[in-house]
C-alpha cells in the first residue's frame, strides 16, 4: 500500500540531483579546456606576442596559479555568471550568449515544433497500422531522414527552393537591409518584429527561418518516428490495452488514451536526450545556412583558438542541457504518477 508522493517533493529532490550532474559537466569542460591545451592565452596568442607580454597577460588572467585554484575560480565565475570576455573580439561572453544564443533558440524552437508534428504524427500512424503500406512508408521516411546529414538536406533544399524555385533565401537570419534597421528588444527576431509591428521585416525574418528550421526539424523528426512507433507497438500489447478493449472501449480511445499516452512516457525521456542531438544539429544547420547562432560562433572561435569563448559557450550549453533534462524529468513525473516518490 503505497501512497503517492507529491509532485512538489519530487521536483525538489530532482532539482537537488541536478547539481552533481552540472558539477561533473563543468569539471569535464574545465579539464578538457585547461589541462589538455595548456592555458587559453598561450594557445591563442603564443608566438604572436613577446614572451614578457604573454607572461603579463597570463598573470592578469590568473593562469599562472595552481590548477585547483584556477578550478575554484572557474566555478566561481560560472556561479556568478561571469564567463569572461572573448580574446578574439573582446566581447563579453554574456553578450555572445544573449545575441547568438537567441538566434539558436529561435531556430531550435521552430525546429522542435516541426520535429514533433512530423515525428509524432508519422510514428503514431506507422505504429497504429503496423505492417501496412503506411507503416512501411513511415518507417522508410524516418530511416532516410535519419540517414541524411542535416547539411546535406540543407544543401538540397538550398539548391531546390533557393536556386531553382527561388522561393526562399538560403543564407542568414535576415536580408542585409532589414538586419541593419531592426531594433533588438529580445534578440528573438520573430518577437522583435512583432513588437515593432514591422510586418515587412517580420515576413523577411520568417522567410529566412523556414528552410533551416524545417530541415533541422525533419532530421530530428526522423528519430521521433522510430521512437514513437516502437513504443506504441509495445504499449499496444499491454495488458491494460486488452482489458480496455474487453470493456468495450472504442478502438480510437484505446489507442490514443491508453496506448499512446503510455507510449509517451519513454518517448519523453528520450526526447530529453534528443535535445543534445538537436543542439548538435543546430551547429551544423547554422553553418549550412550562415545562421548567426551560438554554434557557428563556437566554430568561429574554435578556428581562432579562443578558448575563453569556447569554454564559455560549452559551459552555457552544459547548463542548458542540465536544465532541459531536469524539465523533462519533471514533465515525466507529471505524466506518470509512478515516478513520484
Amino acid at each position: 500500500m503505497k501512497r503517492s508522493g507529491s509532485l512538489r517533493s519530487y521536483v525538489i529532490t530532482r532539482v537537488l540531483l541536478a547539481f552533481p550532474m552540472l558539477l561533473i559537466l563543468l569539471t569535464v569542460v574545465f579539464l578538457l579546456m585547461r589541462v589538455a591545451p595548456g592555458d587559453p592565452i598561450t594557445a591563442a596568442l603564443g608566438g604572436r606576442v613577446s614572451a614578457e607580454e604573454l607572461a603579463r597577460r597570463r598573470h592578469d588572467a590568473g593562469y599562472d596559479r595552481p590548477l585547483p585554484i584556477q578550478y575554484l575560480e572557474y566555478l566561481r565565475g560560472v556561479a556568478t555568471l561571469n564567463l569572461g570576455t572573448t580574446i578574439l573580439d573582446n566581447r563579453p561572453m554574456t553578450q555572445v550568449i544573449a545575441q547568438n544564443g537567441a538566434a539558436t533558440l529561435e531556430l531550435s524552437f521552430f525546429a522542435m515544433i516541426v520535429a514533433m508534428v512530423s515525428g509524432v504524427g508519422i510514428g503514431l500512424i506507422a505504429g497504429r497500422y503496423r505492417d501496412t503500406a503506411a507503416d512501411l512508408g513511415g518507417r522508410l521516411f524516418g530511416i532516410v531522414l535519419y540517414a541524411a546529414p542535416v547539411f546535406f538536406l540543407g544543401f538540397l533544399a538550398q539548391l531546390t527552393f533557393g536556386k531553382w524555385l527561388d522561393w526562399l533565401p538560403t543564407s542568414g537570419q535576415t536580408s542585409p537591409i532589414v538586419g541593419a534597421t531592426l531594433a533588438t528588444h529580445t534578440n528573438l527576431l520573430v518577437i522583435d518584429t512583432i513588437i515593432d509591428r514591422n510586418w515587412t521585416a517580420f515576413q523577411d525574418v520568417v522567410r529566412h527561418l523556414i528552410m533551416p528550421s524545417v530541415v533541422l526539424g525533419l532530421v530530428i523528426g526522423g528519430v521521433f518516428i522510430r521512437l514513437v512507433r516502437v513504443n506504441l507497438l509495445q504499449t499496444m500489447k499491454g495488458d491494460y490495452v486488452e482489458a480496455a478493449r474487453a470493456r468495450g472501449v472504442k478502438e480510437g480511445r484505446v489507442v490514443y488514451k491508453h496506448a499512446f499516452k503510455n507510449a509517451l512516457v519513454p518517448v519523453i525521456t528520450i526526447m530529453g536526450l534528443e535535445f543534445a542531438v538537436l543542439l548538435s544539429g543546430a551547429v551544423l544547420t547554422e553553418e549550412t545556412f550562415n545562421w548567426p547562432g551560438i554554434g557557428s560562433e563556437l566554430v568561429r572561435y574554435l578556428d581562432n583558438r579562443d578558448y575563453i569563448a569556447v569554454q564559455g559557450i560549452i559551459v552555457v550549453t552544459g547548463i542548458v542541457v542540465v536544465i532541459v533534462s531536469l524539465a523533462i524529468d519533471i514533465l515525466n513525473a507529471w505524466v506518470d504518477p509512478r515516478i513520484r516518490y
Binding site: M1, S4, Y240, R245, A246, G248, R253, P337
Partner: protein, 341 residues
C-alpha cells in the same frame, strides 16, 4: 427450465503458424445458464484461455474462428466489430489473470470507471457515475477514500477487486473470468473466490470460470467442463464429476492433484499433444490407460451417461459405432521422460 444466456456451438479457433494451423479450440459446445457458474478446467495449452478470448472477440491477428456463439438471439461471431464492442462490457465482461498490469498506470481509478460507464451509457451524469462507481467498489471492499488514487497505490488483491468492480459496474449478464486468482496469495484468492461466488446470488450473473485449479472449481462452480487438447471431454454438475469422473482424462487429472488428502503420488504419463498435429481418433488415447483399438482411429462420439452429464469417450459408447474388434485394448507405446511436459 430457463433459456441459456450464452450458448456455444461447435466453436473452433485455430492459429496460423509457420508449421501449420494450431487447433487451440476445436469444436467446443456448451451452454451457460443465467446465474450459474460454469468452471472450464484444463492444463496449460489446452485452449481454455483461447476459448475465453474467442467468446469476447479478443483474438490476436492470424486466428480464425467459426461456429456459433449465441447470446440473446444473436450470433456474436457474425456481428460487426462495432456491435461486438457494444456487447463487451454491458453484456459480457471479462476478468483477467494478472491484475497488476490490467489497469492503465497513468489513469486514476476514477477515470477507469468514468471511461467505462461513459462508453456504454453516455447519458449518465457525473454524479450518477460517481455513485455507481462507488457502489461497485464498495461491494468489492475498496474504500471510497481511495477512489482518486492511481493503480500503483493498490496491492494485487485490491487491483483484482477493482477489475471485478470495473466489470460489474455495467451489470453484465455474463462474466468470463480467466484464471482470476492464479497470481494471488491463498488468503486473497479465497477472498476473491468468495466475491465471485456471491455474484450469482446477488446479481444473477452467469460466470464462466476458466482455471487450471480443480480445487477452485470444486468449491465455486455449479457445473464443470473439462478441456483436453482443444476439446471438451466431459461436462456435468461439478459435484457429480468430482465424485465420479467418467472420462479417463478427468480421472487421471483428479488423481494427479496434490491435495490435503493426498497420500500417494500419481500422474499422467506423457505430455499433451502438439495441437498443430493432434493424434488421430481420441486426442487422449496415447496417454490413456483404458485406450481401445477404436480410440486410435475414430473420434469419440459424445454420450450422455446421465442427465446433465456428457462425455466424449468410447468407453461410454455408442457401442453400435465401434467397429469389429474395436474394444480390444490398445497396444501402448512406452512413454519416456524425454516426451514429458
Amino acid at each position: 427450465m430457463s433459456e441459456p444466456v450464452l450458448s456455444v456451438r461447435d466453436l473452433r479457433v485455430w492459429y496460423g503458424t509457420a508449421r501449420g494451423p494450431v487447433r487451440a479450440v476445436d469444436g467446443v459446445s456448451f451452454d451457460l445458464m443465467p446465474g450459474e457458474t460454469l468452471g472450464l478446467v484444463g492444463e496449460s495449452g489446452c485452449g481454455k484461455s483461447t476459448l475465453g478470448r474467442g467468446l469476447m472477440g479478443l483474438l490476436p491477428d492470424g486466428a480464425a474462428i467459426d461456429g456459433e456463439v449465441r447470446y440473446e438471439d444473436r450470433d456474436l461471431l457474425t456481428l460487426s466489430p462495432k456491435r461486438q464492442r457494444d456487447i463487451r462490457g454491458p453484456d459480457i465482461a471479462m476478468i483477467f489473470q494478472e491484475p497488476m498490469t490490467r489497469l492503465d498506470p497513468l489513469m486514476r481509478i476514477e477515470d477507469h470507471f468514468s471511461e467505462t460507464l461513459k462508453t456504454h451509457e453516455p447519458d449518465l451524469s457525473a454524479k450518477e457515475i460517481r455513485k455507481r462507481s462507488l457502489e461497485a467498489l464498495g461491494g468489492m471492499g475498496i474504500p471510497p477514500t481511495r477512489f482518486r488514487q492511481y493503480p500503483h497505490e493498490f496491492s494485487g488483491g485490491m487491483r483484482q477487486r477493482i477489475m471485478i468492480a470495473l466489470a460489474l459496474v455495467l451489470r453484465p449478464r455474463v462474466v468470463i473470468a480467466d484464471e482470476p486468482t492464479t497470481a494471488l496469495d491463498v488468503l486473497v484468492e479465497a477472498q476473491i473466490l468468495r466475491i465471485l461466488a456471491d455474484l450469482r446470488r446477488n446479481f444473477d450473473t452467469a460466470l464462466l470460470l476458466i482455471t487450471h485449479n480443480l480445487g477452485i472449481v470444486a468449491e465455486a462452480c455449479d457445473r464443470v467442463a473439462v478441456m483436453y487438447a482443444g476439446k471438451i471431454v466431459e461436462e456435468g454438475r461439478s459435484r457429480d464429476v468430482f465424485r465420479e469422473p467418467d472420462h479417463p482424462y478427468t480421472q487421471a487429472l483428479l488423481g494427479s492433484i496434490i491435495s490435503l488428502s493426498t497420500t500417494g503420488l500419481r500422474y499422467i504419463p506423457g505430455a499433451p499433444p502438439d495441437l498443430s498435429e493432434p493424434p488421430p481418433g481420441c486426442r487422449f488415447h496415447p496417454r490413456c490407460v483404458d485406450a481401445m483399438a477404436v480410440c486410435a482411429s475414430q473420434e469419440p462420439i459424445e454420450e450422455r451417461p446421465a442427465p446433465g452429464r456428457r462425455v466424449s469417450c468410447w468407453l461410454y459408447g455408442p457401442t453400435y459405432e465401434i467397429p469389429e474388434g474395436g474394444t480390444e485394448p490398445l497396444e501402448r507405446q512406452e512413454i519416456a521422460v524425454a516426451d514429458e511436459a
